[in-house]
């Protein structure tokens, strides 16, 4: 086995695809998910823009939507994401066109599964993300998604808020999307200190009151609530705090 270890950037991944493509027993993986056996070779891949572009170009010729599929798959928290995406590229090249609908093929099914989980979480968190307003009127939302979706979720809010500034902070990955009313910048942020607006508590309390009043207490269905709104997301929901 030859393990191509990538650094998490897309360019690096596509470079690895370029290098590994002709090897029969190649596996592409990120450092943190690397599990080698004896007898295996490890290649540390450094991103090479030219190689990456050649792979991308080939893909674009064969399937206009493939790059986006891969963009999503690489955000997944699935440890095999790089290798699944690699298998997907191989299959596209082998078949000479889109393979998205060949759901009887294990690689396609796996791809559809992991990208589905990424877009699923993205959609859920568009609802569950919570902003608080600081004293300068900037909105701040801490969260901790399973998949690496900070830059995927930010445009949704930029579109909504137009000239309202905001910060979306993945506290576990320590990255944040900053929006200044015009553009989104992705940056690493360790921890943030927030001075809340004087109205913050007032509206938060009204929201908690609303949450309590709108519930029909005579018809409890906790299990369904938790099914739709998994407990791991509660940490950042004011309505679920005491």
């Amino acid at each position: 086995m030859i393990y191509y270890v990538v650094d998490g950037s897309e360019d690096c991944f596509y470079t690895a695809v370029f290098d590994a493509y002709r090897q029969k027993d190649a596996i592409i993986t990120s450092e943190s998910n690397l599990q080698t056996e004896l007898e295996s070779r490890i290649v540390e891949v450094t991103a090479d823009a030219e190689k990456a572009e050649r792979v991308r170009k080939k893909l674009r010729q064969l399937d206009g939507g493939a790059e986006n599929d891969i963009h999503l798959a690489l955000r997944s928290c699935d440890p095999l994401r790089e290798n699944t995406a690699f298998g997907y590229i191989r299959l596209i090249i082998e078949k000479g066109g889109p393979v998205r609908k060949m759901l009887a093929h294990p690689v396609v099914l796996e791809m559809s599964d992991i990208t589905g989980k990424v877009t699923g979480e993205l959609h859920k968190l568009k609802g569950f993300l919570r902003f608080m307003e600081n004293a300068q009127g900037v909105l701040y939302a801490p969260f901790s998604p399973d998949n690496d979706i900070t830059d995927l979720i930010a445009p949704h809010f930029a579109e909504r808020f137009k000239n309202q500034r905001f910060v979306i902070h993945d506290v576990r990955r320590k990255i944040a999307a900053l929006y200044d009313g015009e553009q989104i910048i992705l940056t690493s942020v360790d921890s943030a200190e927030i001075y809340l607006s004087e109205y913050e508590k007032y509206f938060e309390d009204l929201w908690k009151q609303y949450y309590k009043s709108v519930n029909i207490a005579s018809r409890p269905h906790e299990k369904q609530m938790k099914g739709y709104m998994p407990v791991r997301y509660w940490k950042f929901l004011p309505e679920k705090q005491r």
């Binding site: 609908k101 919570r130 307003e133």
Partner: protein, 418 residues
């Protein structure tokens, strides 16, 4: 400033309205504005009763002139009364929206002073929210029966969705339980709105469309004696003749004591079966006549699709690799998503049971109705199939009760519901 107590009264009074969905509108944000609408709808939280919170659902006032028997806000009820001003509503909506607590506003009201006065105040609020507060998020507005058409039409230009709730499925029950309302006072404005939508469509009007997300309505189930068959016939007409987006069913909860009302609630199973049948009518190509006789109720033991299949065993089994989409959709255990997956996948390779299992087809149910490459693994005897399906259904029921809260989102992409 709005205090928690008033918010509590006005929310408590609004919460039995089940239409929570925020889907179906693509309103875009304008420069300097706040908010847009997402076509699929977004759920922002879930309450311990398992329902989704998408919109800030609130009454402008709960001080009602009318005396609908089932309503906690009716005139003769002894309950605390409260109201909220248009500006207070706007402030609250904007601030909840900014914090991403909600997707928009669902505004309704009891009829205070007069239908016109009430509709005017509702209208003023939504116009303000759009024009002064520059809010471009989702707004669902409840229509007030007997209000002037001009007011209703004006409001319709500013909101995404409107609803007049039918509440009771027959004129007779309306007379008994909501004596001030008539069928016409509810149906006529619905017809006008539907005609206005049709006009926009015919004339290809793009901006400033009336209620881009259409109309919905709600019926209370089990407060009056109508059968499922009657209810579903009304439903079918509302979808096919009036182009409604959704009909919601709310199983009766006895919040009010009255000799004219049952003392026990209708239970969630009946509501659940109605939603399943509703689904089959909208997305699976079923006619109500296939599902339920006029005076009958839906089968409690198994879902309406299974029940239909059991009555039509002569049509099965069908070969998965060749059956048309319309037929796949009718196979118990194959949902809309599954049927489309099959149609796509079989273009490339002939499918066997293993493939189907991986595509999340419920094999233990479907196997009695399909063959894969000619192979059949189901049971031959009707009795055995029925027993197996009912057992399966029972487990399912416990899981899926009160599907009414499920977000439209999950299926919308596949079923084309917009």
């Amino acid at each position: 400033m709005l205090d928690a107590r008033r918010l509590e009264i006005l929310t408590e009074s609004a919460k039995y309205d089940v239409s929570c969905s925020s889907s179906g509108s693509k309103r875009v944000n304008a420069k300097g504005g706040l908010g847009n609408a997402s076509v699929g709808g977004i759920c922002h939280s879930f309450t311990p009763d398992g329902r989704c919170i998408s919109l800030l659902k609130i009454l402008m006032s709960n001080d009602c002139l009318y005396d609908c028997e089932y309503c906690p806000n009716r005139r003769s009820a002894d309950v605390p009364r409260a109201s909220i001003t248009p500006d207070e509503i706007c402030e609250l909506t904007i601030n909840f929206y900014k914090r991403n607590y909600i997707e928009g506003l669902f505004l309704s009201s009891a009829v205070f002073s007069s239908p016109d006065r009430t509709m005017e105040a509702l209208c003023e609020t939504v116009v303000k929210l759009r024009k002064i507060y520059n809010f471009n998020g989702y707004i669902h507005l409840k229509g007030i029966p007997y209000a002037d058409d001009a007011l209703i039409m004006r409001a319709a230009k500013y909101v995404d969705r409107m609803s007049f709730n039918i509440e009771l499925p027959s004129e007779k029950s309306l007379k008994l339980l909501a004596p001030q309302k008539t069928r016409d006072s509810l149906i006529l404005p619905m017809k006008k709105l539907s005609a206005a939508r049709e006009y926009d469509k015919q004339n290809k009007i793009r901006s400033g469309k009336v209620i881009p997300a259409g109309q919905t309505t709600q019926m209370i189930i089990g407060a009056s004696p109508e059968s499922d068959g009657q209810i579903l016939r009304l439903t079918e007409a509302l979808y096919r003749k009036m182009g409604l987006k959704r009909v919601y069913y709310s199983s009766y909860i006895p919040v009010v004591e009255s000799p004219k009302l049952p003392t026990v609630g209708a239970g969630l199973l009946r509501e659940h079966r109605l939603y399943q049948a509703d689904w089959l009518i909208r997305f699976y190509g079923f006619d109500v006549d296939e599902l339920c006789g006029e005076g009958d109720n839906l089968d409690a033991d198994c879902d309406p699709k299974c029940a239909w299949a059991m009555r039509n065993m002569q049509l099965f089994p069908v070969e998965v690799n060749t059956a048309p989409l319309e037929m796949l959709l009718r196979v118990p255990g194959i949902g809309a998503r599954g049927a489309y997956r099959i149609i796509n996948a079989r273009k490339y390779t002939a499918l066997d049971f293993d493939n189907l299992a991986k595509m999340r087809i419920i094999i233990k149910r479907a196997k009695h109705f399909i063959t894969c490459k000619g192979k059949f693994y189901g049971s031959e005897s009707r009795g055995a199939i029925k027993a197996a399906l009912m057992l399966d259904n029972r487990a399912e029921n416990a899981e899926q009760l009160s599907m009414f809260s499920s977000p439209d989102v999950a299926v919308s992409a596949i079923t084309g519901e917009i």
